[in-house]
Symmetry: C2
Subunit: 347 residues, 2 copies
Amino acid sequence: MAVNMDKVNKNNKVSLSEVARAAGVSKMTASRVLRGEGGYSEKTRVKVMEQVDALGYLPNRLATVFAGDQTSTFIGVSIPDLGNEVFAQVLEGIDRKLGTFGYQSVLGLTQHTQQEEENWIRTVLSWQPAGLILTGRYHSPRATDMLRNAGIPVVEIWDLNAAPLDMSVGINHFDSGFDMGRYLSSLGYQKIGYVGTSHDTANAATERLNGFCKAVEGAGGAVVKQLCLHDTATYYPGFYGTEQLLAATRNVECIFYQNDAMAFGGLQYCASKGLTVPDDIGIAGWGDLPIASVMNRRLTSCHVSHLKLGQKAAEMMMGRLTEEPVPTCTDIGFRLIPGSTVRNSGV
Amino acid sequence: MAVNMDKVNKNNKVSLSEVARAAGVSKMTASRVLRGEGGYSEKTRVKVMEQVDALGYLPNRLATVFAGDQTSTFIGVSIPDLGNEVFAQVLEGIDRKLGTFGYQSVLGLTQHTQQEEENWIRTVLSWQPAGLILTGRYHSPRATDMLRNAGIPVVEIWDLNAAPLDMSVGINHFDSGFDMGRYLSSLGYQKIGYVGTSHDTANAATERLNGFCKAVEGAGGAVVKQLCLHDTATYYPGFYGTEQLLAATRNVECIFYQNDAMAFGGLQYCASKGLTVPDDIGIAGWGDLPIASVMNRRLTSCHVSHLKLGQKAAEMMMGRLTEEPVPTCTDIGFRLIPGSTVRNSGV
DNA sequence: CCATTTTACGTTACGGGTAACTTAAGCCTT
DNA sequence: AAGGCTTAAGTTACCCGTAACGTAAAATGG
């Protein structure tokens, strides 16, 4: 296993030329052998492969892509944060599916800000990705410009975007909020709280809230909002957001949360204060977290298949890259889960 | 905003030469302006930057890295799965920290198999990453070879590896399992169940179990194992693993779970069967999930700062890349959480 | 047995940046 | 005014693979 002492590049990495020289062929022949595209004898193939093994040669895909005859197998994937279990699942769906096609995710956590997203887009584009998958449909003007100019497939996920930059897959959040509002109203709830986190830019949660308010107010009810400044929408902000809401407002009959994690926080707050659910107060979440599958009391929520969403996004991306016809817009749908944390019929 | 109609490369991307031609300078001068390294007049700088904006030029970092004078800003990050909240947090810690240094994570979900990891390593190395962060310390022989030959920093996380390939950050899982075993034994539990998932290769969970058994058996107790074949260690396998364990074995006084998610599943199983915790049965998890922060009954568990683990891994990577002295091995520690899902003193 | 095709290679050029070197012009000094 | 120095450029070569093209030897055919 003698190490080649001749020309070694700066990174001490074995190049194709070295393999070729060691095998006594031209690098073109070595290249052909490695790609298995024919045009060489069996004897030559063996000679080359022996040297590949002996020298531990690993191809430099950068050079191939750089030469411009291939596209990279990077897909940039931007996700707001992974503290939210929902997005972790979406990412898992994306990465697993991409992996089956030999593509890799280059991750970007944008912390729900357009500026972070823009910065990340600029950086990731400089790596010549084959495509981008972005969460949300709201992007800064500069980001939009760059995306249009990049000339690569872009899938916007999470919010269904009827007029996407390129492709979109997700659900209509306004509708899902509306359905929940209508459902809770139909049970006779009139004064309903909402607990979520606050963000400077519009997002899917905002749209759910808008749809929710429209339905509740349309049915003659009222929504009392409590938007915490906490950065991530998880258990603890759900807990103390509930505390704040109930301290500020009397007679709240039911609370709709930005997501299930916050709803669990709220559920625990109620338990800690001796409030019975759903007798004293109704609780509804959104997203149908896996933990709900083992709760003895089913949380009222809205189911979205996050894993499927991610997989679908990756499939659309790959479809575009292989030049198959791909729908511009895919609604993966949601399903309201009545649960038992709200009263089960109108009063 | 006339689009340059001259030479446009295959991908329709604006190259530095085009910017240079449009600005009436050589591409070297344009390159100098873009890198701000001096050697040009203010007038020239303005001319070049005008064309950069007009043409929407984005540098091609692939070319720079390829030329070999710089290293890429990719860090390959392998994670078993994101369905496990714990790893999602680790990844979040890694990516956020890397982001502050201008580096990007290239994700690999290895599904807890060495073969997947090996394949991913081969692929990701072909993209010339600046370094790799891998979960776990068990790699296939070929993977180990490739890692050694790559000549780039490697951080092994999760399991603390006293003799790492390069660097390691994590905790001693054997010890944490041992501590839990000793603690439960000290409370008088004799016949203790363990519920986890089964894997063909050794991993951190296996080590926790080994440590746990050693402590329990050393104290004169016995461990009854129940390893489910379910792929991910989440709520539902915890639920039915508990069912199976209790169906197969009588008089189990307490159950230790592979992680908190499974323990919650177990907790719910017990609740559904009318078993009182901790009077009828003790429950202990591992990992201290965020949801535990809002439970009215504190789950007996073991706390590890996952976010910090990820951040530390990224810091060690960046330290190595900037050629600062970096410790080979960092133990981020764990803390046993007594909780209230086990009895609170010996019988 | 010679002409034609096929096989098995080798050679050249290229992509998009940057290091290293070269050149031309401007400025200062004595 | 000649020589030396600084500034602001331009020129060349290179990184590592692969497409496109060229060529010599072997195989095939009439």
